[in-house]
């Protein structure tokens, strides 16, 4: 007998997990298929001998995550969210520490960059009032030119954190910038005390309580369609039936690989083929020797040796710009371990086709240059390192199956394609990082909720 569910979720990233939970709470019978050996997707961690735990994407998220977690997960999860107070910028144009909120950014614009108060207020007012339905033709570059003409330093302060957070560039629409900026650079940067492992474990427990059937090591291979409607999924060679499918996997693979382009209208597929994926990442994970300490130098450091902000240079293999996340023991209460993660944006193509020998060589170079850069902030870092390892776009592709190792989903146009899936094939939905504004932990969770509402509507009409 083929097992029958109301909804099948493909992928246990934050979007998929949240969507599954919402649907289960709403009374639906839900199956969640995850290809990897653990849930979380890019919200993940790994352990190495010597007691090291490394977080991949726990660098910071906006305050909105507190309310979102309380409503869609639990008060306990929400109560573990704490602010990171020391956010540092250091580059040839400026160097300071900020609390990363609106008040402090306004102060910095005035005191560090001598911008006129009226211009500052007008800028904040303009970006805050931007919304999804606005004119999309203005680029982020044009927005900055309008308010801060020729001022590269201001562009850098306002843009660099967003470029790191979601891969956006100065050529992306000003509205995507405005929406993300107003959420992110508004009330500070927050993190989850306990670490990603504790968060995902808490979410898994809640899913279990709410009756979601979770299968790990279960890659979905095919979405089954009949008469322009979904009816099931094949995963691990096994067939499951359902009335709705939500794919949290890569948007393009969902359409082209799992479902098949022939099931969609030609002009829809034309738009699908125009969707640009966001860049990928490189990371270097540094575990500090047990017993060694690191003096507080800030929580999140946006560092660069480049003369000015440049979207292309940010992804270049010749790394000039890095963020360092410093994890002090209080992130995992009860432990005494320190770790540091250096992150850079990266292009898949720079890493994809290297021979094994060159790949290892370039990984080593990435590690070496990261330690060099870190020495400026922690002079005796070399002596304190116990463990070090690097991840490249290939690593991200391998673990999440995102095409080209995309770290932050798709560019803006991907959102429309994602939202229009159910109009093409009844019962087929997508959730997860997409379109820049639905990106990051908060974006993925909230999009999971939005899509759950659409799925619920679909199911109740079935």
């Amino acid at each position: 007998m083929v097992k029958k569910y109301d909804a099948i979720i493909i992928g246990g990233g934050l979007g998929g997990l949240t969507c599954a939970n919402r649907l289960a709470v709403s009374g639906h019978k839900v199956l969640l298929l995850e290809s990897h050996i653990k849930l979380g997707g890019l919200a993940t961690w790994f352990k190495r001998k010597g007691g090291h735990i490394f977080d991949i994407s726990l660098h910071g998220f906006p305050i909105g995550m507190i309310k979102t977690c309380r409503k869609y997960w639990s008060k306990q999860i929400a109560d573990s969210i704490v602010q990171l107070k020391g956010i540092r910028f250091d580059n040839p144009q400026f160097s300071f520490t900020t609390t990363f909120d609106k008040v402090d950014f306004k102060r910095l614009l005035k005191e560090e960059f001598s911008i006129n108060q009226e211009v500052i207020d007008d800028f904040f007012h303009t970006v805050r009032s931007m919304n999804f339905f606005d004119d999309q033709s203005m680029t982020t570059k044009e927005l900055f030119e309008k308010f801060f003409p020729g001022n590269d330093a201001v562009t850098r302060m306002l843009m660099e954190p967003i470029a790191y957070a979601n891969g956006s560039t100065l050529d992306d629409p000003a509205i995507t910038y405005g929406i993300v900026f107003s959420n992110f650079m508004d009330k500070g940067v927050f993190t989850f005390r306990g670490g990603t492992d504790v968060l995902i474990k808490a979410m898994a427990d809640i899913l279990e309580t709410n009756g979601v059937d979770v299968r790990l090591r279960s890659p979905a291979q095919k979405i089954l369609v009949r008469d322009k409607k979904v009816y099931g999924v094949i995963a691990n060679g096994e067939e499951y039936h359902c009335d709705a499918i939500v794919s949290n996997a890569n948007l393009i693979s969902t359409i082209n690989d799992f479902t098949g382009a022939s099931h969609f209208d030609d002009d829809f597929i034309e738009n699908v083929n125009k969707v640009r994926l966001n860049n990928s990442s490189c990371q270097v994970y540094i575990g500090i020797k047990k017993g060694e300490k690191i003096d507080y130098i800030g929580d999140l450091l946006f560092t660069s040796t480049a003369g000015k902000f440049d979207s292309k240079m940010l992804c270049a293999k010749d790394v000039t710009s890095r963020t360092f996340s410093i994890y002090y023991p209080d992130i995992r209460p009860g432990t005494d371990m320190y770790s540091i993660v250096a992150s850079t944006n990266a292009n898949y193509d720079d890493w994809a086709d290297l021979s094994e020998e060159n790949y290892q060589r370039d990984k080593k170079r990435l590690i070496d240059t990261s330690i060099d850069a870190l020495e400026k902030y922690i002079p005796d870092i070399r002596r304190k390192i116990d463990y070090i390892e690097a991840a490249t776009p290939r690593t991200f592709k391998h673990y999440t199956r995102h095409l080209r190792g995309a770290s932050f989903g798709t560019k803006f146009e991907g959102l429309k394609v994602s939202m229009e899936l159910p109009k093409q094939i009844g019962g087929l939905f997508h959730t997860g990082s997409v379109g820049i504004i639905m990106s990051g932990w908060l974006g993925a969770v909230n999009y999971g909720v939005i899509v759950a509402n659409n799925v619920d509507k679909h199911l109740r009409k079935c």
Partner: protein, 83 residues
């Protein structure tokens, strides 16, 4: 459901979505957004809860009917008369 019951049903839902808000002093004609600190995700939650509890659907184009308690009640009353 009578109109008064519909109003209470909406208030009950808001109470679960915004548990920290005092709803007893709500001005029925003024926007809920400011009074109960509701954002667009909260309105989505109201819509999903209405569907779950009463099987009524509020299509996206009608979301603005939920702006105040009175407009919500007036909009929902005919849809919920037989519930």
């Amino acid at each position: 459901m009578t109109k008064e019951e519909v109003r209470q049903a909406v208030l009950d839902i808001i109470a679960t979505i915004a548990p920290d808000e005092d709803l007893s002093t709500i001005n029925r004609d003024a926007p809920l957004r400011e009074q109960a600190g509701l954002d667009s995700m909260d309105f989505l939650d109201i819509v999903m809860e209405l569907r779950k509890r009463y099987n009524v659907d509020v299509p996206e184009k009608d979301y603005m009917e939920l702006v105040s308690l009175n407009s919500s009640t007036n909009y929902l009353a005919p849809k919920m008369a037989d519930k």
